[in-house]
Amino acid sequence: MAPRDTDHPPVTRAMRATRGHAAEQAGIDRRRFLAAASGTFGALLLAACNSEGPKSAQSLLEFAEAKNETVERALLRHTSMDVPRASAKIAGQHFPAYYVSDSVPIWDESTRGLWRLKVDGMVKRPLELSLADLASLPRIGYRLDHFCVEGWTAVATRTGVRLADIAKLAGAQPGAQYVDFASFDDDYHESWDIDSAMHPQTLVVYAQDGHYLNPSWGAPARIYSPVKLGYKNTKYLTRISFLPARNGGYWSDRGYEWYGGV
């Protein structure tokens, strides 16, 4: 093979002559050297493994989360729509059920009276909508992906009312930069930025896959938008509040990103 680097110093005869000795002499030291090196690495790894990392890093992580929120808000477009792959099957009965109460939350009319969805906060006309009221509002249906924070996705058709339509109906005021979605699933709630809430695919959903919601999917109504991760989409909805400031959320207060955009 022809040398490719003419500027490289040639290997001297003296150096070649010594090759045979090096390996034998190396024996012990090489082993010691490798043991020490791998020991150090192992110790470092064990110290770091499966931990949450140093507490002192927490403020840095919070700083990064705030910056990420700025980026995510800048990326949000009301024109970017979720369109599931044509080949993606509806999850149907495989769609996971999820709630934070001990058992499936069911609205008990005998103790709580008729279910109503309250719309309040910074609105000109606070509302109390029954399921029939919701069903009489302009209906919109989408086949949508659901993006779970855990990494799985599932496709379902969602039918309901655009939150933007409800905001118009209630006369939400310009100062309302945040919206909080509360539920009767214990103290579950999540608050959003107004831009995500007004996305055309953000719906107050009362039907999934063509049927009224069943209790494990959030009956009688839930919020759903593909621009937010699953945990931001409150099920078992009772109240939509337009607010001047953010109001945290069930998982947001427990360490998950507050913005949780998709």
């Binding site: 949450e52 990064a64 992906d145």
Partner: protein, 241 residues
């Protein structure tokens, strides 16, 4: 002359920290759903579905902790990578890393040498042909990891990108494969550094390197001729550079 410029040395070790945290936290995120299939669907190409990565190989403690680390460290990884690539482009170091004509032939000669089918270490410049291929592909795979990562971070807002990669499920799979490839390259890299040219470790810290201890000078294969013999150091020091 330093073997590695300070910018290369610093970005190299920042990258080691950032990438380790990215891989560890990524695996912890993966463990929340260690599979690829859409709910109610199937996925052709991952035989280990449902089996979690051992917790000791993960970082972040829990899903939210791992996500917070992952989404913070990604900026460090990207910024550091851009500084490295911009530097080696402007400063000329890329010439030692881009595969040259005949790199496959030269790599084959390196393999033959390593398996003792060939006696003499092939002539090389700063890096041998196998190193060139590894060091060149690492940034490429890194870029792939970043792009696929963006696609699964924002599958709605960046849907053109996600769709280009075959949709969310496939983009997530490509992201996983890019990680696996980076880990494999890195393990090979670390193994070769320690078994062939441990003398290059100081060169990645202080920049100093003794050419008379280069793998070519020692005719070193993995674990063979690892330590210099005393005779390597010529009495008049003429073998040193």
């Amino acid at each position: 002359m330093k073997r590695h410029h300070a910018v290369v040395r610093i970005t190299h070790w920042v990258n080691v920290v950032a990438l380790t945290i990215m891989v560890g936290s990524g695996l912890r995120i993966f463990n929340a759903y260690p599979a690829f299939a859409r709910k109610g669907g199937t996925f052709c190409c991952y035989p280990f579905a449902g089996r979690a990565i051992p917790a000791n190989l993960t970082f972040g403690g829990w899903l939210a902790g791992a996500r917070n680390w992952h989404f913070a460290m990604m900026w460090v990884l990207v910024a550091n990578g851009l500084v490295y690539l911009a530097f080696i482009y402007l400063h000329g170091e890329w010439r030692d890393l881009v595969p040259r004509r005949g790199v496959f032939h030269d790599s084959w000669q390196m393999v033959r040498f390593y398996v003792t089918a060939r006696k003499d270490h092939p002539r090389q410049g700063k890096h041998n042909a196998l190193q060139r291929m590894a060091y060149f592909s690492m940034p490429l795979v890194g870029i792939l990891a970043v792009i696929t990562g963006l696609a699964i971070w924002k599958p709605v807002e960046l849907s053109p990108l996600t769709n280009l990669l075959g949709g969310y499920v496939w983009a997530r799979y490509w992201h996983f494969l890019a990680m696996v490839l980076l880990v494999v390259l890195t393990i090979g890299h670390i193994f070769m550094v320690f078994t062939v040219d441990p003398y290059s470790i100081p060169s990645m810290i202080t920049g100093r390197y003794r050419e008379d201890l280069s793998p070519e000078a020692r005719n070193a294969r993995p674990l063979v001729h690892l330590l210099p013999s005393s005779a390597t150091k010529a009495p008049d020091g003429s073998a040193r550079h």
